[in-house]
Amino acid sequence: MKLRLPGLGRAGAPVVRQAKPPMIEMHGVCRSYRLGEVTVEALRDVDLEVRQGEFLAIVGPSGSGKTTLMNIIGCLDRPTAGDYSFAGSPVARLDDDALARLRSRAIGFIFQNYNLLPRTSALDNVSTPLLYQGVPRRERSARARAALEVLGMGDRAGHSASELSGGQQQRVAIARALVTRPALILADEPTGNLDSASGADVVARLHDLHRSGHTIVLVTHDADVAAAADRQVHVLDGQLVA
């Protein structure tokens, strides 16, 4: 499968061309779950567009369906109805392996609980996504080190997760999301487990990334965090509200 990515300039040089199709384009997306006899509609008729270079916050209380929305945006899940195209690829019609390849090349994830591999050095954690792109070892480790340095974690490359503070772990996780130079960075409550200072630092880092040209979608229930984004959409009861 050949994936066409929107033109991304070299680091720090955003290339925003409005003529290009949106990176994320959703029309009438629904996601329902069957729980025994009952069908739960987690998302109903969602229309959403995210352009390349945008910083979007998806805001909503817990249970609103924002996590489901994030899973679909992140190509971890498929809509049960409606169309979703990611950078021109029809996600609903791709199989698991194609979705995995799409995630590998185009999406960097940042999670609330960091999800670093235990007993593994920061460097190896950051280079893990490159492993699945088939990047040779030497280049993996060079790129991982570079990504850690961007996040100011160059001197902690040999530390394992348990030797790092929450804020440091999240910075390693951000480096991991960056290392593949993804078209989209998807952050799911990235400040949820952090104290306010570390949280503010993470938000500042996301801001930096945005300024250097990355497209960022941030999912949060925290209005202050959401305020960092260019644009906010609100999710309530599985629907986008203005």
């Binding site: 899973n71 992140g74 971890l76 899940d77 698991d96 392996d97 995995a100 390849r101 995630r103 590998s104 090349r105 994830f109 999670f111 999800n115 591999l117 235990p118 007993r119 893990t128 996504p129 492993l131 699945y132 792109q133 088939g134 070892r137 991991r176 593949t180």
Partner: protein
Amino acid sequence: MSTLELVGLALSRLGAARLRATMTMLGVIIGVASVVALVAVGDEAALGVTRQLQSLGLNLLTVNPGMSASTGGRPSGTAQTLTLDDAAAIAGVTGVAAVEPEIAIQTQLTAGTQSVTTSVIGTSADYPAVRAYALTRGSFFNAVSVDNSLRVAVLGAQTAKALKLGSDAIGSTISINHLPFAVVGILEAKGTTGPVSNDDLVLIPVTSMQHYFNNTPRVRSIGVSVASAGQMTEVKSWMVQLLERRHATAAGGADDFVISDQTQLLGATNSISALLSVLLGGIAVISLLVGGIGIMNIMLVSVRERTREIGLRKAVGARAGDILAQFLVEALTMSALGGLLGVALGLLVSIGIGAATGWGFVFNPLVVLVALAFSLVVGCVFGVWPARQAARMDPILALRYE
């Protein structure tokens, strides 16, 4: 992701949980080690038996009086139908290299103050050639001594020791049933064949035996050395014809002698070792099966424990096949490592047993390869299921797993 990288990942993972990995591998280690050790010990024993048979005499045929057990006759040794003339006639058969007839008595020996009772055998000068004896001291009596009924004796190693005859034994005199004999040689020790010592005996010329102790032409056995192993069957049948003619055996009647060779003994040894191999194969399959179940068990636990890791790997781009390969290679690495350690342990044990028994060590590369291959197959078979469980996890659920 290359295989090498997968193995590296598996090794670092196993290194992080060393105790658990070792315990898991223990089943495979013990299985492989026991197979390698037992097969090697079996080989060593077979080699020991073969060597011992060869040490009894090269291409040896033994003629005993009596009827063969298979024809329902009396056991050999009860009849006294073989004579020295038979032995002389056998010596003329084509392909016979050497012949030694034996007339034996049990009697008392004395040397100085030491006295023992043992078997004294009257035989020919060809005895050491036929029975594959070497001498540690002196020399065996020659044909001239036999022709002249000289009172010379060659002692078995054990008998010499019992009589406390040392370096000055050659030329000393022992008395056999109160008659003095000159000691001319001492045989090299051979050890035992079954319960029978091959070193507790005294050899004197067969003519001296007849002259001084037992004036009979009848012998208890005739040992025949055949010139080459390929002629054994041929020579044996000629000897049968010769003896039947000499003993005037009626056509179709039962022979009054038995000719035995080592192939029967070898055959028995081989059938025992074949049975042993089957039993060992059974042990191998069972123990490796148990080892494999151990690996599967731990891999299932491991997959469960590492659900979040699997979720994360999938989120950052691992395909189902990548996860499957990762966990399969981990199981394979464990079973292969266990197999290697088992082979090493098994070889150490068999070297030890070979040294302790004096059988020597036999290295059988085929067993090592088969054991390793089998442990890999076990790792593969029992690793697939846990690996599939890992590969089929839904990344969303896996990431949220607590």
